[in-house]
Amino acid sequence: MEPNFGGVVTVTHSGQRRTPKAAKTSSVFKKAVMAVSGIILVLYLVAHMIGNLKIFSGRESFNGYSEWIRTIGEPAVPAQTTLWIIRVVLLAAVAAHIWAAVSLWRQAKRARPVQYVARKQVAQSYASRTMRWGGVILALFVIYHILDLTAGVANPEGTASTPYDRVIAGFSNPFITAVYIVALLALGFHLRHGIWSATQTLGQSNKKRERTVNAFATVFAVVLTAGFLIPPLSILSGLVG
């Protein structure tokens, strides 16, 4: 033992390398899961939005479209096979998206347990700041949305109605429409940052593309949100139904 003096005896070499623990899932891998699952959900949303616009072709067309989704692939496969494949993929994507989000959220919490007394953002946008709580709102909304229009249990028309009736009944109610509008705006912000972020995460952004990617994300988010907002607003204002 070498003699030592001074207040503290333990030698802590601040530079010592910690032994790596068992390989965890890397934070970048989690982000990639988030990006890929997000892309699947975005593609679904595009189809969903286009389908929604069929409300303007009238009751028959809309109900027919709804029926078609359930019969794609018949008679090669039994009824609703394709629909369930879509549902399983979506469910898996949602689960993966939430898992990655929660996991990164917890990592971020662990990474800064003590917050700043004063903190001002320099660059972050409203969209990027609200990803996490916005995501929670969207998850809650999706549950409500399925109960409302898919299952019909939360719909004024009840479970026995046709899809068209449920839509018209729901959006004739200003309160229900308001809930949808809030959720869709949240979706818009979520997409605005999500699309840019996915491009970064998948390593497809660079200095030259950065502006384009950001512009695309904004335009895409606006178009999709608008596309989703048109039917409920039209119904509420009496243009349809």
Binding site: P3, F5, G7, H13, S14, R17
Partner: protein
């Protein structure tokens, strides 16, 4: 020379260089004659390396790669912060990629001449030889040097040389080279060959039976003072410009490691050789903590002037052409604004001393780009100097595109340092000194882009070869931590630190440091005279006396205590300042960065006295009260003939 100043000891000489072969073969011959250490035995040999700049970082990494057990110490939080990081300009190498007549011999010649014939030829020649290997090594590490469109390395001419031999990475060459060494060092740390001691400051050298065997160091976070042992100790702790308080060095740069080694018997060579850089941003107030250098390249297009009249406080733009004195163009029509650093600095001081200086306190001269802007247009100036202009604007709050810049010289580099032989070994066996910390390669004046070259040459290529010769006679007997020499060193450090904390006087460490710095800059700065140096030598002991009775150092020993760190460093600067003045006073000639008012040509140029002063002044420490002992190493010039510099 007055006898009370110093006493004359035995002459010394370098005996490591094989002088029996021609200079071009000496380095390979030295490597051949050096004894080697069997790779299997290397892990039984421990080497302490203090400092992680270009020299220390590259040495520790290379010794680790070779298989030695290395212990690396640095005072900052990371090895990447060493002040080599701040070097801007570039690194010289005799690659002759431009086919412009460069060669190892020319780089050797330029360096000896630039050093005003006060460097050892053997060392300088070796430096020029290994310069080419440095570039290869750095490129292999991924250092992003500037390149041409064909993918080859770009070169530029730097510091007035006639060949383009400077490699660079924009204005951040030092940073990029340091990161290369730092990454190699981190790689060895991961591999386990280099043990790291971050935020640990060396406070004494342990000499056992005449050999350097370890150090006493303080862990700056816990305050713990402990001993560390090894078979050899390497100091790579940089220069001592912070003696002047205001310099371009980092705030933490200090002389403590070399000074404490000096007090353990290592000779300190040429302490008075300091380099003062002409283009720095001037001081703007009492509270100023640091000077910032701007690249010398500014003098390529900027014109230096002051008003002809003293005390002219008009806006520089309102001073008509005929009332301006473009003094460098006037005195040196051939070289004009491009005269060497020491001349440009001294003339700036002269005009300011005449009362014609500009800006607050009259310590500044104008560097004017108005003419260049007219000739080349603003976009061209922006492209060439944009980052420098931005930096200037940021620090001063003035727009240099509109108002002439103000510049003033600042201490930048110290050529002096611990005396070493051709093996870079000091007179204490087992103590090696590399980089700016030694005195070896630059003589009395360092050429631009040569500091980085020397640091990496020493660390990557020279030391790892020469230290093996010393280590081949090891491993030496293990040092018992209770050995009287170790205990004495440890307790000495502890006693000094406790004493600093107990004085509890009325003045801060910084106020002493400022006082010392101002005194040194005024009396032992760009121009020294017997009168000024005697004045300094009268005053410094008083400062030291007051420091040790009236300094106030708050905090505790056993904790992170930056005030305590600073106090210990200033205590050493005060002692070193005295030796610098003694050295400057004894050297009654002007050479390179050392200008004695008594020794100048009728035109006011530096006048060397080769007859009496063509030697290295290596100083031996003596306990307080006794004058230091001077050992002379005579310099012989076999290959470069002594000549007077002239830039007229």
């Amino acid at each position: 020379m007055a006898l009370e100043l110093f006493t004359l000891g035995d002459p010394i000489a370098d005996t490591s260089a094989p002088r029996d072969v021609p200079i071009g073969e000496r380095w390979s011959e030295r490597r051949f004659r050096a004894k080697l250490v069997n790779p299997a035995n290397r892990r039984k040999l421990t080497v302490i390396v203090v400092g992680t700049g270009l020299a220390g970082g590259s040495a520790a990494a290379t010794l680790g790669e070779a298989g030695y057990k290395v212990k690396s110490f640095w005072y900052q939080d990371s090895p990447r912060r060493a002040h080599s990081v701040a070097a801007q300009g570039g690194i010289n190498a005799a690659k002759n990629y431009r086919n412009d007549g460069d060669s190892v011999h020319r780089l050797f010649y330029d360096t000896v001449k630039g050093g005003d014939f006060r460097a050892r030829e053997d060392n300088v020649h070796r430096l020029a030889e290994v310069s080419v290997n440095i570039i290869d090594q750095c490129v292999a590490q991924g250092v992003p040097f500037a390149r041409e469109y064909g993918g080859l390395l770009d070169n530029r001419s730097f510091g007035g040389t006639q060949v383009s031999r400077t490699f660079y990475a924009r204005g951040q060459t030092g940073q990029q080279l340091l990161y290369g060494a730092y990454q190699a060092l981190e790689r060895q740390m991961a591999a386990g060959t280099v043990e790291q001691f971050a935020r640990t400051e060396m406070l004494d050298l342990i000499v056992v039976d005449g050999r350097a065997r370890g150090i006493v160091a303080r862990n700056l976070i816990t305050g713990e003072i402990s001993t560390h042992f090894a078979d050899a100790v390497v100091l790579a702790t940089g220069g001592y410009s912070n003696v002047f308080y205001l310099s371009t060095n980092a705030k933490g740069s200090n002389a403590t490691a070399i000074w404490r080694a000096h007090k353990r018997g290592a000779l300190f060579a040429n302490p008075c050789y300091t380099q003062i850089h002409p283009t720095c941003i001037p001081v703007h107030g009492e509270y100023q903590s640091k000077l910032t250098l701007m690249s010398e390249s500014l003098r390529n297009d900027g014109r230096v002037w002051v008003p002809k009249e003293r005390g002219d406080t008009r806006d520089p733009r309102d001073i008509p052409e005929e009332e301006r004195d473009y003094y460098l163009e006037r005195i040196y029509p051939a070289f004009g604004n491009l005269v060497p650093r020491d001349i440009a600095s001294r003339q700036a001081k002269n005009v300011c001393d005449e009362g014609r200086g500009v800006g607050p306190e009259g310590k500044g001269v104008y560097l004017d780009f108005a003419e260049a802007m007219q000739r080349l247009g603003r976009p061209a100036i922006e492209a060439k100097y944009g980052n420098l202009f931005d930096m200037y604007a940021q620090i001063t709050g003035e727009d240099p595109y509109e108002v002439p810049m103000r510049i003033y010289p600042a201490v930048h580099y110290t050529m002096g340092g611990l005396w070493v032989d051709y093996d870079l070994q000091s007179n204490i066996p087992g103590l090696f000194v590399i980089g700016e910390a030694n005195f070896s390669d630059h003589g009395a004046n360092r050429l631009g882009a040569s500091a980085l070259m020397q640091g990496l040459a020493d660390g990557y290529f020279v030391l790892p070869n020469t230290i093996s010769h010393y280590l081949s006679s090891g491993p030496f007997d293990k040092v018992d931590p209770q050995h009287p020499a170790a205990v004495e060193a440890l307790e000495g450090v502890r006693a000094q630190t406790e004493r600093l904390l107990s004085i509890n006087g009325n003045r801060t460490t910084a106020s002493f440091h400022r006082e010392l710095g101002r005194l040194m800059f005024d009396l032992c700065g760009m121009e020294r005279s017997e009168e000024s140096l005697r004045k300094a030598l009268d005053r410094i002991p008083e400062i030291r006396q007051e420091f040790w009775t009236n300094v106030k150092v708050p905090g505790e020993l056993g904790r992170f205590n930056q005030s305590l760190e600073h106090a210990g460093r200033v205590a050493d600067f005060i002692e070193l300042a005295e030796l610098m003045c003694v050295d400057a006073l004894h050297r009654n000639e002007s050479c390179g960065g050392h200008f004695r008012a008594e020794s100048q040509t009728p035109e006011g140029e530096a006048l060397r006295d080769d007859e009496n002063y063509a030697y290295v002044a290596a100083w031996e420490w003596t306990p307080e009260g006794a004058p230091p002992v001077l050992h002379k190493e005579d310099l012989e010039f076999e290959y470069v003939h002594l000549a007077q510099r002239s830039y007229k």
